[in-house]
Symmetry: C2
Subunit: 360 residues, 2 copies
């Protein structure tokens, strides 16, 4: 069909599969204006006459146009996304935090990339790299490792704000939002001692994790204050290991009369073991767990627990991150954002510590 001698640059094969939806160019054509005018209408702020704006809005609605975030981000170097790294979403504590973070992000028009590190430093590192590639505007992280990941330092160099959630982060400049781990643990152990217990066992997960470490500190303080000998067993990761340990310790003469569990999972494992051993709470063993459980009031013996404000923790951390993002964007506007928030814990007295708990 091409006739005479002009060079025809090989007809495109089949219109080249454009992007899914209509683009700003389509809207501009539809409304009979320049693309810049459409951009102005979409982003607001600049001068556009009411009549033109109406025409453009109508075209947008007619075509069902949505701005392409990829292109926006490429121009503006900021993704309207934040990242969140948690060890495990199936843990209700982290799930609640994630819920709160995601909610706050939504009010800012941001979305949240949530990933789980599965308590593996390597996974965590990879995920941070993937988020960096997506050019997130900020990162919230419940750090899994002890040291500081090299990737985090790279994020830092890229001036991406960083907030540690529930734990602290050394070696990089980051904000953090934590709870009164030591104080909460101390209060709980003191309470057990006040009930007359002299041998108070303390068991939990990995002592290298910041939160566990802090809680152990609180436990030691309370024990030392009462002149009692601390007895700690950590690195309990499975239910069987926990049961084996408890069986051994509880068969000794002068066996422990009280138990303080350092974290959620261990609390549940201990409860399972106690049921298997047919011990009665609090008669055979008084117990307090760090981190409350939704069903704690409904257990055989309702469980006394140190409650952490998970929702507030997530919200505060997210708010802090957005403060930092705003501050780093409009450089030096307003005061420097807060970089450390410590939230209080609450000792919820139920039956398992030995208190008479209210019947309703």
């Amino acid at each position: 069909m091409t006739q005479e001698g002009t060079f025809v640059p090989a007809p495109r094969k089949a219109a080249k599969r454009r992007q899914s939806g209509p683009t700003i160019t389509d809207v501009a054509r539809e409304a009979g204006v320049a693309i810049m005018t459409v951009s102005r209408v979409v982003n607001g702020g600049s001068y556009v006459s009411p009549a033109t704006e109406k025409r453009v809005r109508a075209a947008i609605r007619r075509l069902g146009y949505t701005p392409n975030e990829a292109a926006r981000m490429l121009k503006g170097q900021r993704a309207r996304m934040i990242g969140l790294v948690v060890p495990d979403l199936a843990d209700s504590f982290f799930a609640t935090c994630a819920n709160a973070v995601q909610e706050v992000a939504g009010t800012h028009g941001y979305m949240t990339l949530i990933v789980t590190s599965e308590r593996s430093v390597e996974t965590e590192s990879n995920e941070i790299a993937m988020m960096a590639a997506r050019r997130i505007a900020g990162l919230l992280i419940v750090p899994t490792g002890v040291g500081t990941d090299k990737r985090l330092r790279e994020l830092q160099q890229a001036e991406i704000p960083l907030v540690a959630l529930d734990r602290t982060l050394d070696g990089v400049e980051a904000g953090h939002v934590i709870v009164e781990n030591a104080g909460g643990a101390e209060e709980a152990v003191r309470h057990l001692i006040a009930h007359g217990h002299r041998r108070v066992l303390c068991i939990g997960y990995d002592a290298k994790v910041y939160t566990i470490h802090q809680r152990i500190l609180g436990y030691r303080r309370a024990m030392k204050e009462a002149g009692l000998k601390p007895e700690m067993w950590t690195n309990l990761t499975t239910a069987p290991a926990t049961e084996t340990l408890l069986r051994r310790l509880m068969s000794e003469p002068g066996r422990p009369t009280a138990l303080f569990t350092l974290n959620n999972v261990t609390t549940i494992h201990a409860l399972q073991a106690i049921r298997a051993m047919q011990l009665r709470l609090p008669a055979d063993l008084a117990m307090i767990g760090f981190d409350d459980l939704e069903l704690a009031p409904l257990l055989d013996t309702p469980l006394t627990a140190v409650r952490q404000p998970a929702l507030e923790l997530g919200r505060s951390a997210a708010r802090m991150l957005f403060d930092m993002i705003r501050h780093s964007r409009d450089v030096g506007t307003g005061s420097k954002p807060e970089t450390r928030i410590v939230l209080p814990t609450e000792l919820i007295l139920r039956g398992s510590c030995g208190c008479n708990h209210p019947s309703s």
Copy 2:
């Protein structure tokens, strides 16, 4: 090598705040090759001599280069992200699903945008729009509403694969992964009837929700089969409402002797009410709940429950979505992906239904 009289295009003013990290151009300069060569090394596949590749890789490592996903996505129209909409992350069932989805996505090099609809159709709609703007490659959704969101139809037009999780989706072409809701409920209610109960109560959340609706169907089938009169109470959203209802029904003469709860939240509310009313399970009231709870075995009377394979549900749905994504990209490669998966439920017998449960 351009030296003398060539045109020099006006020196840029002050380097113009570039993107956070180094770009492909920096790598190319560092390695002394063209950017295209770097791109080839990064994406693999094409001809690059080993020597050049080594040089480029070294430069990449030296500079700490990460490809800008925004630019990639803008070119290729595909974001290496999928979306996940759940009603509530604090619900352990959905949290577990999310965990599984996120894990499968990771193995494909994708990240997951997780949002909660908070059971609001409007929130859900907005979130779908935000995800559309981010040009996600596919969407997993636990639909909250009854009808089909207009936004979903738009996604569909944009040829974005869609999979409904735990529920079905009418009016759009979508895959779905669900569990044997009706069958599981029927089995549970039959079990209660087999224990001799004639008046089996059925309570739950919104009956318009697909899952609840299906479970009610199962309940009705079992009751009809036994020639018993079904008694259902739905729209119970709060704990007080549930307690009020149960108090009223349990004070009637010839009161119900068995209870079947249709969903997680209602199960918990019922357990709270039962404790408040000082009823004994299963003596005063036998009970089975749909959806198992982690602490169910540890309750006063261990709770018999219909367990759903939450992990498997999430995994299957994610796998189905990635099948659809692959299929829509390499058009017509391989067989059409599965679009319907139904997973079995399992009745976990513990004490609350009246069975003697194993002590350990």
